[in-house]
């Protein structure tokens, strides 16, 4: 029923009739296509047809238009929809707005940037909650959708001049093989994840960016005017490891404008809580406060993203990535950071250099920073490089009798899960993220459970890496022994110092491009991954600078080369670290021209005979088999009856 058939006798003009008809159409459309039921009664909430993001209308514009009519509570935009929701705190205000806007064409550019739009309004009982933007975002994170128009996006991309291949080194552009990065204002240095604050780049920020910055400022999205821009172009399949932008380098707000394709950015709280945020094309993401200082953000290198179906947030679909160009706007910080998150703050946290620990406390700390934290950070990429079970491990598992209990200590991504359906396995790891990966992979195998376990010195990782030499590694073997039943067996793999055995080089040294490397340490899987980016206060980078520059502490291993030392930091790159960039870098920074944050894992590698010797010194067990397998020393130990 509409008003006419309700017996309202008022004679309507032609344009009024037209407005009614349109309003009804809007109402029908909302009900039929969106499931939004409009109300006959006056309510506090309005749905405004033709005022949506897909009409080119901005939330700020609506706010400005509707605010004068009463006590405005909220304006909710929905991605890709031709309507918006406007809520007041009382019915009268909503009724006033209804009278003011229903059926009215907004002609003036002062009212709307893209004028000549007619709004049709209906009352609704409540704003559908399905798409309340920002509801679950990390505190301090804001996503402004449709921040720039398509035309503006084109202008920005044009301004980059990336079609002109000649223009190199002009403004600190790095034209890399798979990825492009360009800096304005100041060059961002990937070796120390900081900028040279007294060396601004000539030319400052380009003019074609100033409009966007003006808009960020005038829209109230940021308070500090940025003076540094980093532009990254990501091909489908490329990503960036999780990181927190260096606190001491930049002020609070960090904004990222996404152009081209959309992507999904993963935010992670130190507690392990993760939030995946879809960044649509032409959206502006502003990280401030907790989201900027405490949560890490990163993009998983992949070609498809799982994303919620629009309008049905419970359903997930896959979105293919396209080339995405991100503009990161930052303001250089000239004073030490005094944020509320000292655990992530390089200004407030004096980290000890990474050197061999002299006490149990130092050992635990080294372990925390260079083993556990690193694996937390690189877990998803690490996992993606490891999907082939090793044949000899599979053999070991298959020889276990029916009903055997198996513990996979340091289970990684759980690739041995389900190898033998007749045994029951419990996978143990200390790294929550890795456990989550194996917990969610293809559902869990019926004969397997995962477990996040204890700070006992038991995990495989710790076993491999125990910095405190013998006592600590012995503790691990003792703990494994404790778990065994009399007569029970354990298979132990440790990375070998000798990567060449019987004149055969391990795959690790061979650098088998394109093949799945079969060593226990792998970084570059084919070429789909790249690291980009900006400052990371990830565990180690700054420390490693000091390690390398001052030549003290633990050596840093050069990937794909023979080991020079048994205790060292092994870098993890998303990209092949062995291929050094030839471009000139800063003096004294020889091996550091990687383009992204590098994660350093502490490793101890074992020499021939070392692991047997260790096991033989633990009472109650004997070594019943030993072998060398693809760059690893392996032993099978058995507990005495």
């Amino acid at each position: 029923m509409d008003q006419e058939s309700c017996g309202v006798k008022t004679k309507l003009t032609k344009s009024e009739r037209k407005a009614h008809k349109k309003q009804n159409n809007a109402r029908q459309t909302l009900l039929r296509h969106e499931g939004i039921n409009t109300s006959r009664e006056v309510t506090k909430h309005l749905v405004v047809a033709n005022a949506g993001l897909s009409n080119g209308v901005h939330r700020e514009e609506l706010w400005r238009l509707f605010e004068p009519h009463g006590d405005l509570q909220d304006v909710v935009m929905v991605t890709g929809k031709p309507y918006a929701f406007v809520s007041y705190n009382d019915d009268q205000s909503a009724a006033a707005a209804y009278t003011a806007f229903n059926g009215r064409m907004l002609k003036s550019p002062e009212e709307l940037q893209q004028p000549n739009v007619t709004f049709y309004l209906n009352y609704i009982d409540e704003v559908p909650s399905q798409r309340a933007t920002g509801l679950d975002l990390p505190p301090g994170l804001r996503l402004v959708e449709d921040f720039v128009s398509p035309a503006c996006a084109d202008r920005l991309l044009e301004g980059l001049g990336w079609s002109n291949e000649q223009q190199q080194h002009m403004d600190a552009e790095q034209a890399l093989k798979h990825r492009r990065v360009k800096h304005f204002g100041y060059e961002f240095r990937y070796d120390n994840n900081n900028v040279d604050k007294d060396k601004p780049l000539p030319g400052g920020l380009p003019d074609w960016c100033s409009q966007v910055i003006d808009r960020m400022m005038s829209g109230g999205h940021i308070k500090h005017r940025p003076d540094q821009i980093t532009v990254n172009q990501y091909q489908p399949g490329q990503g960036i490891p999780p990181h927190v932008d260096t606190h001491s380098a930049f002020e609070d707000e960090i904004s990222s404008l996404s152009l081209g394709g959309q992507t999904v950015m993963d935010f992670k709280h130190p507690s392990g809580k993760r939030v995946a945020v879809v960044l649509p094309a032409r959206s502006l993401l502003v990280m401030s406060g907790e989201a900027r200082y405490l949560w890490t953000h990163g993009i998983i290198p992949r070609k498809m993203d799982p994303v919620p179906v629009k309008g049905q947030e419970d359903s997930i679909t896959l979105a293919r990535r396209e080339v995405r160009t991100s503009f990161t706007f930052r303001k250089i910080r000239h004073t030490p950071c005094d944020c509320k998150y000292p655990s992530q703050c390089d200004s407030q946290l004096q980290r000890p250099g990474a050197s061999l620990p002299r006490s149990e406390g130092e050992a635990a700390q080294l372990e925390q920073q260079h083993v556990h934290q690193v694996y937390e950070d690189i877990a998803s990429h690490f996992s993606s490089t490891r999907h082939s079970p090793w044949p000899r491990v599979v053999d070991f598992l298959k020889t276990q009798p029916i009903g055997a209990l198996v513990v996979d200590v340091g289970c990684g991504n759980g690739k041995y899960l389900g190898v033998n359906k007749d045994v029951y396995s419990v996978s143990i790891t200390i790294t929550s993220f890795i456990v989550n990966i194996c917990g969610t992979n293809e559902g869990r195998c019926a004969h397997q459970d995962s477990l996040l376990f204890t700070r006992y010195r038991t995990t495989h990782d710790e076993f491999l890496t125990s910095p405190l030499k013998l006592e600590r590694r012995m503790k691990a073997v003792k703990e494994l022994t404790r778990l065994l039943k009399p007569g029970g067996k354990a298979l132990i793999y440790v990375w070998a110092f000798e990567q060449e055995y019987k004149n055969v080089k391990s795959n690790y040294l061979k650098d088998t491009k394109g093949n799945e490397p079969q060593t226990d340490d792998v970084r570059d899987k084919s070429s789909t991954t790249t690291d980009d980016i900006r400052g990371a206060t990830s565990p180690d980078v700054s420390q490693n600078d000091s390690v390398q520059q001052q030549d003290v502490g633990l050596p840093v291993h050069v990937n794909r080369t023979s080991f020079k030392s048994q205790d060292m930091l092994v870098p993890w790159h998303f990209r092949d670290g062995a291929k050094k960039q030839q471009r000139d870098s800063h003096p004294g920074v020889k091996e550091k021209s990687q383009e992204g944050p590098v994660y350093h894992r502490f490793y101890h590698v074992f020499k021939d005979g070392e692991i047997e010797e260790l096991c033989n010194s633990v009472p109650g067990i004997s070594v019943i088999e030993r072998y060398y397998d693809k760059g690893n020393w392996c032993v099978i130990i058995q507990k005495g009856l």
Partner: protein, 123 residues
């Protein structure tokens, strides 16, 4: 976390002398179907603490008709093995807590994964 796994877990908080069995509190339980392998179950049972299993199953309301005491010659009692199979393998606690019987320290279970990690001061 399956009840089979629960049966093997113990609290390892510093100073605890009797951390077993962990009290089980479940907020979300999933019951699924797992292929029944009588030999597997029969061989598993001697490795279990039967009373702990009964207690745990009862505390989350999934004891069913499972006998409180092991019966003689259970190895060949297919009906019994099926019940044991169900309780051990098919009932999974997705969200909940494990509680140390001595200190009351709670270990959360999330997404089916018990988190037994201790803080530095508890080791």
């Amino acid at each position: 976390m399956r009840l089979l796994t629960h049966n093997m877990l113990t609290s390892h908080v510093k100073g605890v002398t009797n951390g077993y069995p962990l009290k089980l509190q479940a907020e979300n339980i999933k019951v699924m179907s797992v292929d029944f392998n009588p030999e597997f179950v029969a061989r598993m049972i001697p490795k279990l603490e039967w009373q702990a299993l009964v207690q745990a199953a009862e505390s989350i309301g999934h004891l069913g008709d499972l006998p409180r005491e092991l019966m003689p010659e259970y190895e060949s009692n297919e009906e019994f093995l099926k019940m044991a199979h169900h309780v051990l393998m098919e009932v999974e606690v997705i969200e909940g807590n494990l509680e140390c019987p001595e200190t009351g320290r709670k270990f959360p279970i999330k997404n089916g994964i018990p988190n037994m990690l201790l803080n530095e001061d508890e080791v």
